[in-house]
Subunit: 436 residues, 2 copies
C-alpha cells in the first residue's frame, strides 16, 4: 500500500518536534498505524532552518499554498499558528479534499465553526488533539472516552507559563514581576507574555473543551477572561494559610440556566490532586455524572509533547484511511502481525531500587558487616535510617534504601544478611521506584 | 436507521449501572453516537433481580446462549465475569458475528490472545475499556492517544481495594487486618478478598496494559505478583519518615533485555502526584519518550464509573457501524446537527465561591458593617481571617471566604464595602472552587 503523504506547514518548535519524533519512532508508529507515514513536503518561510531540521529528508518549499494544493499530499499538518493565514490555508486544504491536523487553538476557538462546517461538506477530518494541553490526550478522552456521561464541569490548568509563575510565586514567596522574569529567563514565557499571563491562551483551549464537553458551538467571544498579572503575593500566602492554592483555571460548567465559560485565578483546596500540579505541567479535571471526577495530567507544551499529539492525530487519520472500519484500532494497539517477541523478564532479572528493613543486635560492627555484604553484591546504598533501641531493649531496626540494582543481587545479599548472628529474624524487602 | 441492539449478559453491579446510565443519559449519548442504542435483551440467572433493575424495559432471559445467537443483537456486552463460561460465551458471540464489549480483565489477561485472534478472523471488535481502571479511559489513551511514543514504562494504582487499605493504614496508623475489616465493612473488599489484596486483579489489568503499551501478547502467567497482606504498619511509617509512600503498583517497563511485568507494594516519593492518590481511586502514570510522563486518574471500580467505560465502548462500536469512516467521531463530539443552543452565561450570572481581601481601619464596628453588607446580598460567609495590625499600624487585612453565590451579588457587595469610610483602597476579589 502506498504511504500516507504528509505536508507539514511550519517547521518551528512543534514542526521540528513532529519531524524528529516521526523519524525516531518510525518503526514503532508504523506498527501501530498499519501504514507507512512519510513527511513528503515541508513548507516554511525560513528555508535554511527547514534544511537544517530536515537534513535533506523531505522536499522543501517556501510556498505553503503549493502544499495544500499538492495532489500527492493526503494530510496537511498546520503548525504555523495565528488565525489569518492559517485560516486561509486550512480552508484551502479542506477545499482540496485534504485531511487536516492542527495544533492551532486560536484558529479553532475563533474559526472552528466555519472550519468544521467546511470539513463536513468535503468529508474530511480536522484533527486537533495538540490544540489543547499539548501531549495530554484530553480531546480523545472527552470526545470518545467519556461519551456515556452528562459532563457537569471541566476545570483545567491549561497554560504552563502561568502555572510556572504561580508555582514560583508560592514556593519562593516572590512577586509576579520577579516570577515572570524567571519564566522568561527559562524560555517558558515569551518576550511579550500577554497571551499566556492574561488568560487568552487558556480561554482558547477552554472554548474548545467547552464545545466538546457540552455539544455547543465555539463561542470564544463570550468567555470571561482574567489573567494573573495583577495577582499579589500576599493573596497566595493568605490562601495557603486557609488551606488553598491559587491556580489559573479554565472552568466551564453546565449551570441550570446556561453554560459557564471563564478563566481566572482560582483558589482550590490544597488537598486536591490538581492543586499539586506544579511548574509548566498541565492538568484537566473533568466531572461526569456517571464516572465522577477524572483527571488528565502531563506536559501541556514543548516540542515533543505537542508532537506526540500531532502524530497521534496523524495515526488516527492513517488508521481510518487504511483499515476496514472494524479494525481501525488494533485490539492490542499494534497490528496483529506486528507484535513483538520481547520476553517477559523473570523477577531475578528485574532492576529496581529497594527498601530493606532488618532487626539487629545493638552491637559494634553490625552495620559494617551489612554494608560489606551490600558492597560485595555491588549494591550501592542511597539512604539509611537507624533507630535508637527502645528503653531496655538490645535490638533495633536498620532501614536501607538502595540505588537501582538487580533483584538477584539483592536476593543473595538478603540471604547473607539473614545468616549473620547479629541479625534477628527475616529481612523485610520492599521495592522502590522513583517514577521520574 | 434502525437502532443498535445490545444484548446484556449479567445485570449485577456493572450491568445494573450500564442499564441505568444508558437510560438516564440516553438523549445525550445518542446525540454523540449518531444512532439509537437499545438494550433489547438481558440475560441473567436471577430473573427476579433482572426484572427489578430493568423495570420491564427489556426482554429478559435466563439463557445467555440465546443472546449470543440472537440474530437481532448487534453488540454482546459481557458482564458475567470469570473466565470459563464467559470465555465460551464471548467466543460464541464472536463466532456469530457479534461485536463484544467486556469489562472482564481476568478473561482477557488469560484468554485475550485466543479471543482477539477469533475476533480478527470474524471481523468483529472486542472492546474492553472497562477491564482496566474502571471509568478512566486508559485503554484509549494507550492505544490511540500515545501512538507517537515509544512507551518506556507504565505504573499504576489499579486496585482500589488495596489502595483504600494502604491509605487507611497510613492515615490511621492501623495494621493490615484492621484496615481490611474497615474495607469490608464499607463494601470495598469482598468476604474473600484474596483477588484484590494479593495483587491478582492488579496483575490482570497490568497484563492488558503491558500488551498494549509494548505490542506483545498477553502473558499473565509470566507476571510477578506480590500483594499487600504481609505489609506491616511499621514499614509504612519508616517509609514516610524517609519521604515515601507505599502503594500497590503494577509496573511494566521496557528494559534493555526484555519487558518487566510486576505487581508489588512499592515505595514512591511522597511528592509525586500518584503518591497522593488516596482511598479507592485509581491512577496510571505512563512514560512515553516524546510526551514524557502523563497521568490518568479516576474511579477504578463501582457501578456507574465502570458503566461509563462500557458505554463508551458501545458508542465506539455504534459510531463505527453508523458513520462513514471520515466522520466516525464528530468534530465537536456531538453530531453536527445535534448541537445544543444552551447560552454562555455572562459573568454576572455565574455562581461560585469567593475570596475577598480588604484593608480596614482597626476600629470597632468595621466587621459588623462588612458582614451586614454581605447578609444584605444574601452572601453567606464560610471562613474569615483577620490579621493583627503590624507594629505601629492602624490598618489590617480582613479575608472572607464565601459560600457559593451569584457574581452580581458580590459585585454589589464589593461596591458597598469599598464605599465604607473604614475600608481603605479596593477589595481584592478572587474566585474559589471546591472542585468536588
Amino acid at each position: 500500500m502506498k504511504p500516507i503523504n504528509i505536508g507539514l506547514l511550519g517547521i518551528g518548535t512543534v514542526g521540528g518536534g513532529t519531524f524528529s519524533v516521526l523519524g525516531r519512532n518510525h518503526a514503532e508508529i508504523v506498527r501501530r498505524a498499519g501504514r507507512d507515514l512519510v513527511i513528503s513536503v515541508v513548507a516554511d518561510k525560513d528555508l535554511e532552518r527547514a534544511r537544517q531540521v530536515t537534513g535533506g529528508k523531505a522536499r522543501l518549499t517556501a510556498d505553503a499554498w503549493s502544499v495544500v494544493r499538492d495532489p500527492e499530499v493526503d494530510i496537511v499538518v498546520e503548525l504555523i499558528g495565528g488565525h489569518t493565514i492559517a485560516r486561509d490555508l486550512v480552508l484551502a486544504a479542506i477545499d482540496n479534499g485534504k485531511h487536516v491536523v492542527t495544533a492551532n487553538k486560536a484558529l479553532l476557538a475563533m474559526h472552528g465553526n466555519e472550519i468544521f462546517a467546511a470539513a463536513l461538506k468535503k468529508n474530511v477530518v480536522v484533527a486537533f488533539e495538540a490544540a489543547v494541553a499539548g501531549g495530554i490526550p484530553i480531546i480523545k478522552a472527552l470526545r470518545e472516552g467519556l461519551t456515556a456521561n452528562r459532563i457537569q464541569w471541566i476545570a483545567g490548568i491549561i497554560n504552563g507559563t502561568s502555572n510556572f509563575i504561580l508555582s514560583e510565586m508560592r514556593a519562593k514567596g516572590i512577586d509576579f514581576a520577579t516570577a515572570l522574569k524567571e519564566a522568561q529567563a527559562r524560555g517558558y514565557a515569551e518576550a511579550d507574555p500577554r497571551f499566556d499571563i492574561e488568560g487568552i491562551d487558556a480561554a482558547h483551549k477552554l472554548t474548545i473543551m467547552s464545545a466538546i464537553g457540552f455539544g455547543i458551538p465555539m463561542q470564544f467571544d463570550k468567555a470571561f477572561i482574567e489573567g494573573i498579572s495583577k495577582l499579589e503575593a500576599v493573596d497566595i500566602r493568605y490562601a495557603e494559610e486557609m488551606g488553598y492554592r491559587i491556580k489559573l483555571l479554565g472552568i466551564t460548567r453546565r449551570a441550570g440556566h446556561g453554560i459557564e465559560l471563564r478563566v481566572h485565578p482560582t483558589l482550590i483546596p490544597s488537598k486536591r490532586l490538581i492543586a499539586n500540579v506544579e511548574g509548566v505541567m498541565n492538568a484537566i479535571l473533568v466531572k461526569g455524572d456517571a464516572v465522577g471526577p477524572t483527571l488528565y495530567y502531563g506536559a501541556g507544551a514543548g516540542a515533543e509533547p505537542t508532537a506526540s499529539a500531532v502524530i497521534a492525530d496523524i495515526v488516527d487519520v492513517a488508521r481510518m484511511l487504511t483499515a476496514d472500519p472494524d479494525h481501525r484500532v488494533p485490539h492490542l494497539a499494534f497490528q496483529p502481525d506486528r507484535l513483538s517477541a520481547d520476553p517477559i523478564l523473570s523477577m531475578e532479572d528485574v532492576e529496581t531500587a529497594y527498601y530493606l528493613r532488618m532487626r539487629v543486635l545493638d552491637q559494634p560492627g553490625v552495620l559494617a558487616d551489612i554494608t560489606r555484604i551490600m558492597a560485595d553484591q555491588t549494591i550501592s546504598i542511597d539512604a539509611m535510617l537507624q533507630k535508637e533501641p527502645g528503653e531496655g531493649e538490645d535490638q533495633t531496626d536498620i532501614i536501607l534504601l538502595t540505588h537501582v540494582t538487580r533483584e538477584k543481587n539483592v536476593n543473595v545479599a538478603i540471604a547473607r544478611i539473614e545468616a549473620l548472628t547479629t541479625v534477628t529474624g527475616k529481612v523485610v524487602r520492599l521495592r522502590l521506584e522513583a517514577l521520574s
